[in-house]
Amino acid sequence: MKNLKMKEARTALGLSQQEVADKVGVSRQTINAIEKGDYNPTIRLCIEVCKVLNKTLDELFWE
């Protein structure tokens, strides 16, 4: 299932997938895969993404 909340949070901050990937320390393709719902990230990566996007885990990853 697509993670539209994460995409919305990223675009709201005006960040590209590459910029988020660089800040989190993963590849652009990994951020793309999370947004498309092709990859289920670990809690550690979820927390890193939340910190970069200034959101809580619930806001980004809870359905």
Binding site: G25, V26, S27, Q29, T30, A33, Y39, P41, T42, R44, L45
Partner: protein
């Protein structure tokens, strides 16, 4: 012996190797992220299963009246096909390059190695006395092996570039 060709190929190989050492000293390698590690784990599994299957098929072929292949070539071909599966799976699942890694030195190196093997394969007899020999077959096999990886890397880089645009 054609020393000019040998020296030029050594230089071709030395440039990307020098780049790799330079990047390593600058700690420009970011390693693989967690998704890439998972993909690479799957790739190694598929590669190993392919290698075992190919070796099995080739051994069965050797036991029957199929194509006769020299033992060295038989073993090496199985390993290389397994490695090829690993490489292609990683390339097409974005897990071949490490984070921050510059692919161009490696692309040059792959091209140089493929060229070296193509040159080395010239005039060699692949089948001698009805047996596919290691001496004749290895260069052409390695040339094809590195060419396949190179072509796939270039196509994937082109697709990624188009997507980014």
């Amino acid at each position: 012996m054609d020393y000019t060709f040998l020296i030029s190929m050594l230089i071709l190989l030395a440039i990307p190797l020098f780049n790799i050492i330079l990047y390593k000293e600058k700690e420009d390698y970011g390693g693989y992220d967690e998704r890439q590690e998972i993909v690479r784990g799957k790739a190694f599994k598929y590669g190993f299963l392919t290698m075992v299957s190919v070796e099995g098929i080739m051994l069965l072929n050797a036991q029957t009246d199929g194509i006769s292949i020299e033992c060295n070539f038989l073993v090496m071909a199985g390993i290389l096909i397994g490695v090829l599966v690993v490489a292609l799976y990683c390339i097409w699942n974005d897990a071949y390059w490490q984070l921050k890694q510059k692919p161009m030195p490696f692309v040059c190196m792959l091209g140089a190695i493929a060229l070296c093997n193509m040159f080395n394969a010239r005039g060699k007899t692949i089948v001698a006395n009805g047996i596919v020999t290691w001496d004749g077959g290895n260069s052409i096999f390695l040339a094809v092996f590195f060419s396949i990886i190179l072509i796939n890397v270039i196509i994937k880089m082109y697709i990624d570039k188009k997507k980014n645009q």
